[in-house]
């Protein structure tokens, strides 16, 4: 809390950190009050590092050891309702176990921030990365960022508190990054120390304010429920605007900003891939190699997934002939089986008049290198004029399945 910050000011420094540890440093630097967490791979290093910080007196926070992720998020709902700045992290089954409370937190408009190191869901058991956990939570009313490296993870957690606690927003935020591929990859990270909390000062005062009795989590009859849900629709619209501003302000303050999505060699491109998180770096290499082969290739990385920066994306992809959307989750029973591909098609591609090819890959962390992304770009270049080619999802890299 603020007293601690006065006593133990952390200056800015450069540390070698994995994304998991970078998130813990961001939690320390924005002076979180309450952490409740249950360990789960590949997120565990986040809450382990925070536990160390609390034990060593680097962070004065209430650290609640709970018996499940359901309890972790429930503790945070209570603590946030009385005005605490709160944090947790989870993955996979943990996120699934939180599911009902995710909706309660967003419905109560509590500015909770959570890191998600994305991981496949059971069964069969897989501790490795894909997006089946986060895609199950995509309509829980949370703002969702996908970040690509440890530095961006640190920066985005700091941004997330400023966004979540904005009075025009008041929504919970997930900062998601690929389990292992990003969560366990170490790199030099600039940590900003107490400058972080100057950037994201505590604005949230809680629902329950001193003395006045209030009911939180009330019943809403058919006469009222819809209006509260519509408030969340409006809050998401506001979050889009505020998120852009927060990122720009962050850039002015610290010299790093990311935008809501990133484009690479897209201006004159005919074919492009849209990816998230760890695939961004290999995609840029793949685009460069495709260019050398004479393919007019480009790349897009979606950073803010909810709310979707629709207008910017429409503008960015409108010159393309075909956009491949790489999903690491499966919408079972849909011919276009990539959740992200479906959403990009309806929200972006129909307006931009661009064909979308849904590509499912990297399921359960099946190897996905820049060579694979290059193969996808070559495939897209080959089929770019052929409407019948985009009707179904390409299941890339499954033994016995289709190959480009």
């Amino acid at each position: 809390m603020s007293r601690t910050l006065m006593e133990e000011p952390f200056g800015a420094s450069t540390e070698v950190l994995s994304a998991n540890k970078a998130v813990a440093y961001a939690v320390r630097d924005v002076d979180v009050d309450v952490v409740a967490a249950y360990p789960i791979t590949p997120q565990t290093a986040v809450v382990e590092e925070i536990a160390r910080m609390v034990a060593d007196g680097e962070l004065e926070a209430e650290y609640v050891h709970v018996e499940s992720e359901h309890s972790a998020i429930s503790v945070l709902a209570g603590a946030s309702a009385v005005g605490a700045r709160v944090f947790t992290a989870t993955s996979s089954q943990g996120l699934a176990l939180m599911h009902e409370v995710l909706h309660i937190v967003s419905g109560l408009r509590l500015p909770v921030v959570m890191a998600v190191a994305t991981r496949a869901l059971s069964a069969p058991i897989s501790i490795w990365n894909d997006h089946s956990d986060i895609m199950n939570a995509r309509d829980a009313g949370w703002v969702i960022y996908f970040v690509s490296n440890a530095q961006e993870a640190y920066d985005t957690v700091v941004q997330a508190y400023r966004l979540a606690e904005d009075p025009d927003v008041l929504l919970p935020v997930m900062v998601a990054y690929d389990g292992f591929l990003v969560s366990h990859a170490s790199e030099p990270v600039r940590v900003e120390g107490r400058r972080a909390i100057s950037f994201a000062p505590k604005r949230w005062r809680g629902l329950l304010l001193g003395g006045e009795p209030l009911s939180v989590g009330t019943l809403a009859t058919p006469d009222f429920y819809y209006e509260f849900k519509y408030q969340q629709v409006v809050a998401m619209r506001n979050a889009l605007r505020v998120s852009e501003r927060v990122d720009a302000d962050f850039g002015r303050e610290f010299g790093r900003s990311y935008g809501l999505f990133e484009a690479y060699m897209l201006d004159d491109a005919e074919v492009a891939l849209l990816v998230t998180s760890s695939l961004w770096s290999p995609l840029k290499r793949a685009v460069e190699r495709a260019r050398r082969e004479g393919i007019r290739a480009g790349g897009v990385r979606l950073r803010l997934y909810r709310p979707l920066p629709r207008d910017g994306l429409v503008k960015a992809v409108s010159g393309l002939r075909i956009l491949g959307v790489v999903d690491r989750a499966i919408g079972y029973g849909l011919p276009v089986a990539g959740p992200l591909a479906t959403e990009i098609t309806v929200n972006v591609a129909l307006q931009a008049e661009v064909m979308v090819k849904s590509i499912v890959a990297g399921i359960g962390q099946r190897s996905l290198t820049h060579g694979d992304l290059l193969a996808m770009l070559r495939y897209l270049d080959k089929v770019k004029g052929r409407r019948e080619e985009v009707r179904d999802t390409l299941f890339y890299g499954v033994r016995g399945g289709e190959a480009p």
Binding site: L108, R109, P213, S215, A220, D223, F228, Q231, A235
Partner: protein, 117 residues
């Protein structure tokens, strides 16, 4: 606030149009209590009524009541057949949730549960 012919008017009944619009409601559906916090009377569907004539002053209702809603009143009381007591029992209806435990436990059947209407 609602404008006729606008989307925020469509599909609403006349009664619904008189209710607050989305921007007039508190975010997160927090609500202020409609009556004082120590008033439990709205929970009741029936209320206990004690017949002072049949009451044996055994005090079981007072002991069993989970909400302390039975009030023991000192003072001389005379029944219709001339029996006298130093104490009487009545109900604090602001605390009574109408659970009926007192009526269930009363050995003299002196407590009747009367529906709230």
């Amino acid at each position: 606030m609602l404008k006729e012919g606008r989307p925020g008017w469509w599909g609403l009944t006349k009664r619904s149009r008189a209710l607050p619009a989305w921007f007039e409601l508190p975010p997160g559906a927090v609500a202020r209590p409609s009556r004082p916090l120590d008033d439990k009377s709205s929970w009741r569907t029936q209320r206990p009524v004690i017949d002072g004539d049949r009451c044996l002053r055994c005090r079981l209702c007072y002991l069993f009541c989970p909400d302390g809603a039975i009030v023991e009143v000192d003072g001389r009381a005379v029944t219709s057949i001339g029996k006298t007591y130093d104490v009487s029992y009545s109900v604090d209806y602001s605390l009574c949730k109408g659970c009926g435990i007192c009526a269930e436990e009363c050995p003299a059947r002196a407590i009747t549960m009367v529906p709230e209407v």
